[in-house]
């Protein structure tokens, strides 16, 4: 039955791209719908129910559908099953026989399955002329169950005004439809009428209900038939149906890979083959230990002191973070890695303070200056790069740093055409140096230990600027000795 939509042929079938995002979901729903209707394979019982004076053919209760979903899709919570079932209804695959609103209820409410002819996977985009014909024909049939709801009556009135000039045509089409319908068997008509109504409930939903036919505009143009030449639900030929749907952007034909593309791919693959990779076991251990380290700092997993501002409406937590007087918990984080220490402005300050006490702050100041360089507008980069060279690397530089000759050579070369990344090698080298040498000593220092163990109150004069609060952030006094 899942292929039924194509076999049914319906005038709406446009052979869309099978793996477009919408189609993927439709096929999954259709798979569920097929299984749920297969009574022999554990599906629900579709029965004719005797009601007051008549029989209601081909229905199933909402509760049965919910139970089936729970059992067959491994769902634990009935709320989830109801939610999924309601979505399947909202997309038009099942519908309540006595309501325009397409949701699933976990009770005796009766539901029917939609005909594959009307499935959304047929890419219907029914015109208002079709809708007008439909509403018109409903008024022609003297049946209580076909009476128009208020919103439908309003829609009809609006359409009559809009199509005033061709209303005779629409009226005739509606009459023709009514004639065709009269020829059908009574029970069959009940079913078809309800399915037709459910189709329109999807494409012209009750005001306030979600219109599930709305599309994500980014995904529209990849359908094989992006211009969606529209065919009428009732087989009515109409000039206006050749209009391009306004919602579609012009599609670009998918680029076929050229020789250059494949050559690039081969180069890339060879590089990947050379790459030294870690085993999944080692990577798993690493992910676990990182998470374990930070879980106590994670407000969506652990509670925070004094309280999460969003819960208590009290911003103390944020005020404390902003103050440069760090809590012990926060100081402890600086000990996780040099990256963590440098991420925190207070950590950065304290590390700088420590280095100054050792007269070795030029490394960190260099690192910070290179960070700043990368944040500059393009226009300012060359001059800043030169300033950094003068301060840290030139012969007789006031804050001379120690680079290996290789990095020094490369950097010197880079400076001939200075750019934001001219100092990458040097910065990486200096970072490794700090990490292996001064950072370890920092963690053992009194400056750090006093804070970690909250041994004494220290005054906090800001020593480095917060990157994030100003565009032109570097106070030369901080970074440059001159």
């Amino acid at each position: 039955m899942a292929e039924g939509s194509k076999d049914q042929g319906g005038v709406g079938t446009m052979d869309p791209e099978e793996d477009s995002p919408n189609m993927i979901v439709y096929r999954k729903i259709e798979d569920i719908i097929t299984r749920i209707q297969d009574e022999k394979a554990g599906g629900v019982a579709i029965r004719t129910v005797k009601s007051f004076l008549s029989k209601i053919p081909s229905v199933v209760s909402g509760a049965d559908i919910v139970q089936w979903l729970i059992k067959n899709l491994s769902i634990e919570d009935p709320a989830e099953a109801i939610h999924l079932g309601s979505l399947i209804a909202a997309h038009g695959y099942i519908f309540p026989i006595s309501d325009h609103v397409l949701t699933l209820k976990d009770d005796g409410t009766l539901y029917r399955f939609q005909s594959p002819y009307f499935w959304p996977s047929n890419c219907w985009e029914p015109e208002n002329t079709d809708y007008a014909i439909y509403l018109c024909k409903r008024t022609m049939q003297n049946k209580a169950r076909l009476e128009l709801a208020d919103y439908e009556a309003e829609n009809l009135a609006r359409l009559q005004r809009a199509f005033a000039r061709k209303w005779e045509f629409i009226f005739m089409q509606a009459e023709a439809q009514v004639k065709l319908d009269r020829k059908k068997d009574k029970a069959e008509r009940k079913i078809l009428d309800s399915q037709e109504r459910a189709f329109w409930d999807v494409h012209r939903p009750v005001p306030g209900c979600v219109n599930t036919t709305e599309m994500d505009i980014r995904k529209c143009r990849r359908e094989k038939n992006p211009h969606r030449v529209k065919k009428s639900v009732y087989g009515v030929a109409d000039d206006s149906q050749n209009q391009l749907s306004p919602v579609h952007i012009s599609s670009q034909p998918a680029r076929k890979p050229t020789k250059e593309d494949v050559q690039k791919e081969i180069t890339f693959l060879n590089i990947q083959l050379d790459r030294h990779c870690m085993k999944v076991s080692k990577v798993a251990d690493s992910l676990m230990s990182y998470t374990d380290q930070f879980v106590e700092y994670d407000p969506l997993v652990s509670s925070v002191e004094p309280s999460n501002p969003w819960i208590s409406d009290d911003t103390t937590f944020w005020d404390l973070e902003a103050s440069r007087e760090p809590s012990q918990q926060r100081v402890r984080k600086w000990g996780f890695s040099l990256e963590e220490a440098l991420k925190d402005t207070a950590g950065r300050d304290q590390f700088l303070k420590f280095l100054e006490s050792e007269f070795s702050s030029e490394n960190l100041r260099f690192w910070l200056a290179v960070q700043d360089l990368k944040r500059r507008p393009f226009r300012e980069v060359p001059s800043r790069a030169q300033e950094i060279w003068q301060e840290f690397l030139a012969e007789g530089a006031p804050s001379a740093i120690n680079l290996d000759s290789h990095s020094y050579e490369r950097t010197s070369q880079n400076l001939k055409d200075p750019g934001r990344y001219s100092y990458e090698d040097a910065q990486e080298h200096i970072f490794k140096l700090m990490k292996s040498d001064s950072y370890a000593r920092f963690l053992r220092s009194n400056i750090y230990q006093d804070l970690l163990l909250a041994r004494k109150k220290v005054s906090f004069k800001p020593m480095t600027q917060d990157f994030n609060t100003s565009l032109f952030c570097w106070d030369k006094v901080t970074l440059f000795k001159n």
């Binding site: 793996d19 995002p21 993927i24 979901v25 999954k28 729903i29 569920i32 899709l73 491994s74 919570d77 709320a79 989830e80 099953a81 939610h83 999924l84 979505l87 952007i249 680029r255 890979p257 791919e265 180069t267 890339f268 060879n270 990947q272 870690m278 085993k279 999944v280 076991s281 990577v283 798993a284 690493s286 992910l287 676990m288 230990s289 990182y290 998470t291 879980v295 994670d298 969506l300 997993v301 999460n308 501002p309 969003w310 819960i311 911003t315 944020w318 973070e321 890695s337 990256e339 440098l342 991420k343 960070q371 944040r375 500059r376 507008p377 393009f378 990344y421 990458e424 990157f467 994030n468």
Partner: protein, 388 residues
Amino acid sequence: SCDFAPSGSFSPFRRLPLPAKRKYMRSPLSPEMATQEVPLNETLAHLKTESETLKLKLEEERAKLHDVELHQVAEKVEGLGQFVMKTRRTLKGHGNKVLCMDWCKDKRRIVSSSQDGKVIVWDAFTTNKEHAVTMPCTWVMACAYAPSGCAVACGGLDNKCSVYPLSLDKNENLAAKKKSVAMHTNYLSACSFTNSDMQILTSSGDGTCALWDVESGQLLQSFHGHAADVLCLDLAPSETGNTFVSGGCDKKANVWDMRSGQCIQSFETHESDINSVRYYPSGDAFASGSDDATCRLYDLRADREVAIYSKESIIFGVSSVDFSLSGRLLFGGYNDYTINVWDVLKGTRVSILFGHENRVSTLRVSPDGTAFCTGSWDHTLRVWILMC
């Protein structure tokens, strides 16, 4: 040699040797020339075969390192227990689908953009609207807050990314100071400031990503490699990081070197469009969300997918993903109006959150991890927290 310390100092783009020049090779097609080396006249078909062979070899090599599953190793980790997450703020004011949002570094302000062309800056804590801009186009699919908090960037069907400085004067017309920065040849799908207000990274329906200098509007670097629309991007969290990851309609997630414009790693295991990518907080891995209804975790050091987050009952696509601060939780916003919360290590779903009345289109955890915000086609944004 590489440093494999767990806390993210591993550099994935160590200087690699250039591939050997392959201009000459014995031609298998003309035996009479077998004694000479001739310039290679490889046809597209030959190249494709070679590429396929290499792909298989690569997969073989990587599979050798796949000695265990993440969730197996994580069995020894303590379970998370019951999770109750609630909406603490609902932001109403957009007149149509909310498509994108971003947090300010101050942890409480938010910028959001909508299908009706409106971009709104909110103090989500008080729910007050602080600024509003009407873009000249509909479907503003991307927006971002500048690190300084002094500007926002946005764009969409206009194929551009524009920067609006935020004035302290609420009456000032923001549109007057608008600065056009990025120009693509198709819709703008995502944008992000780098660590500074001075550079913006963009992705587009034209299949490329690009890095721009805000002040001059100059293109600093472009990134080519996706075979279809690029839908999302995320910058590596490292302070010195110069990489970012992008996801596209070609089902690929690519990791890029911002300095050279080269793609340094690529992952293709999803079965449909990748709508969202987000780095794990250490920068060693990233998660993706796709129209195939799954989220996946890719580790850069293993160069491999190491987890897949899916359920039989979840059949609608994932629109956006983000991690909690420690990386223990992965939040996914879905097209079925729900948010699923995943235990990243164990691979199980911890919670399902109902509340939105239409697709969840965007989801971001706040900068200090105290809350996360979702935007939806139901015109609203919600801020969620964990209730202990």
